[in-house]
């Protein structure tokens, strides 16, 4: 529990909470981005440079922008009325608390077993990226290819849908 971890965790939690709580959808996305950036910083703090930068590149650079576009595309008109408080807020809160408890327990029990292990020697940072690459290209090459195929299919599907709409418009 170092000071930097505390600060980063606080920023992340605050960002995510604001993303849920703010009224304006665009503000929510911006707050969400702060949360993403906090998570990326946490990865970096753990020495996972590749994951951290990928988090920034993908989530801050792409997902946030995508969310913004989605909001712009769908929300044509602002809802002037404040969102009504959900009637089941108490039940929701209870579920959230239960999930948190389960997760906390899982992590805590796991952490004990980790602590039992001797502290691992710090992996040379240059190895991490290379290790990821090696792992992807050797051990996980089949899953990688499958994921790639799936994404390509999704991409083509998206293009087809978009083109169909354009034809309609003409």
């Amino acid at each position: 529990m170092t000071a930097s971890f505390t600060i980063l965790a606080a920023i992340t939690v605050a960002g995510m909470a604001a993303a849920m709580g703010l009224r304006n959808a665009v503000h929510c996305v911006l707050a969400l981005t702060v949360g993403f950036a906090g998570i990326a910083a946490l990865y970096l703090q753990l020495g996972a440079q590749f994951v951290g930068f990928t988090q920034v590149l993908v989530y801050v650079g792409a997902v946030a922008i995508l969310a913004v576009f989605a909001i712009m595309m769908t929300q044509s008109r602002p809802s002037a009325t404040p969102a009504p408080r959900a009637p089941l807020w108490a039940a929701g809160g209870a579920v959230a608390a239960a999930v948190f408890a389960v997760l906390a327990w899982a992590i805590h029990s796991n952490a004990l077993s980790v602590q039992a292990l001797p502290p691992q020697p710090e992996a040379a940072p240059s190895a991490t990226v290379q290790q990821i690459g090696d792992a992807l290209m050797h051990r996980f090459v089949l899953p990688l290819e499958i994921v790639g195929l799936l994404l390509t299919a999704a991409l083509i599907g998206a293009v087809v849908i978009a083109m169909g709409r354009r034809e309609e418009m003409k």
Partner: protein, 391 residues
């Protein structure tokens, strides 16, 4: 404002007024007011554009920000008193405005123009065409985002022509040069040599300009197939000038009317076949080359003699009752003045047929389906001057 995601930015269709002409009703349309302070509307012109994304769905031109009551003022002025006001119609080419007005009054009063004055009129008129077209191609490039380079080259050339105007008429833009039955002053000493020097440089500018941009892929991509004006629409909408000729309409008043002494000069009229922005640009470049030829011939053949009809009175000028319409091929198109005289010192009715305004009427037809970026260059290729549109 915290609740509003898009209070001002995106308006739903219902708020715009009428239904969009195309597209599904769920489309979000954006109504954009381009102008009157927009940098590319060539003055205080305004376009209310309805956009679907960046595609133009509707476009409504709004005129009148520069309305100066020109026609009504002219009806309370003497005939001569309107001459300086015509400078301010199309302030890029004052001399052709002077000429058209003088032509109308000469028709009305039956005044003969001495030969030397006719030659002088052709010389200054073609110089005006040169600088107007140079100016236009520069501005069109600027609208296309050229960071000012072609515009500066064009203005360098234009300044030289304006220097000539100043040496001859005393003013760079508000020349007030023509008089009924001729011109106001004769050429000062050395003016022809200076003009020859300027004209010798002009082909170099045109070559430079063509090397700089005409073969440029970006320019071709931006202008070819954009803002196509069909020949039929050009004829039925009364489009004139380079814009009509770019659409393939063989209509040049210098050839049709042969007013003045234009039948003495050998020149060709370039015609486009596509009617897009590229053709309108190129027609102007080609017309500049033709104008250079006319100027060469006119300066070669310039006779000596009086420059103004001595019988025409400068004060107390009262044409007999009647009406007349005088028109010329101004750089922007057919510029006409329609006058009714009731025998008094001021016209009973005075009407301008401004080429810019008539050419602008097809703007929406040219712009529909194109991008915001295209609106700007289409407007630029129409070649308007708001002083003339709004009068």
């Amino acid at each position: 404002m915290s609740t509003a995601a898009f209070p001002a930015a995106v308006l739903p269709t219902q708020q715009i007024g009428s239904e969009p002409t195309s597209g599904p009703s769920t489309e979000q349309l954006l109504e954009l007011s381009m102008g009157p302070q927009h940098p590319s509307t060539h003055g205080v012109f305004r376009m209310n554009v309805v956009l679907d994304g960046e595609r133009v769905v509707r476009l409504k031109p709004v005129f009148g920000y520069l309305h100066r009551n020109h026609e009504k003022i002219a009806e309370s002025e003497t005939y001569l008193g309107s001459m300086p006001y015509t400078d301010r119609l199309d302030y890029i080419c004052p001399l052709t405005n002077n000429w058209a007005y003088a032509l109308a009054v000469e028709k009305l009063a039956g005044i003969q123009v001495p030969e030397r004055a006719e030659y002088l009129r052709v010389i200054v008129g073609e110089l005006t065409r040169l600088q107007n077209h140079a100016c236009l191609v520069g501005f069109l490039m600027q609208d296309m985002g050229c960071s000012g380079t072609p515009l500066m080259y064009a203005f360098r050339q234009r300044e030289m022509v304006l220097d000539l105007f100043e040496a001859l008429t005393g003013a760079r833009m508000m020349c007030n040069y023509m008089r009924f039955g001729g011109c106001r002053v004769d050429l000062p000493a050395g003016w022809l040599d200076q003009t020859k020097k300027v004209l010798q440089q002009f082909p170099r500018f045109l070559d430079e300009f063509e090397r700089l941009l005409i073969g440029n892929e970006i320019l071709m991509g931006r202008t070819q197939g954009i803002g196509v004006l069909s020949k039929e629409l050009a004829v039925s909408a009364g489009i004139s000038g380079p814009m009509a000729r770019a659409s393939g309409v063989d209509y040049d008043i210098r050839k049709v009317d042969r007013y003045g002494i234009y039948d003495r000069f050998a020149f060709r009229v370039p015609l486009g076949s596509h009617g897009d922005v590229y053709d309108r640009l190129m027609i102007r470049v080609l017309e500049m080359r033709e104008s250079l030829g006319i100027l060469d011939q006119a300066m070669r053949d310039l006779p000596a003699g009086p420059i103004v009809d001595p019988k025409t009175k400068i004060r107390g000028f009262r044409p007999k009752p009647g009406e007349a319409y005088g028109r010329i091929e101004a750089p922007k198109g057919e510029l006409g003045f329609y006058l009714i005289s009731d025998g008094s010192p001021n016209p009973y009715r005075y009407r301008v047929r401004p080429p810019s305004l008539i050419n602008l009427t097809v703007l929406e037809d040219l712009c529909l389906g194109h991008n915001v970026a295209d609106i700007v260059i289409i407007l630029g290729s129409v070649d308007i001057v708001l002083g003339e549109v709004d009068r």
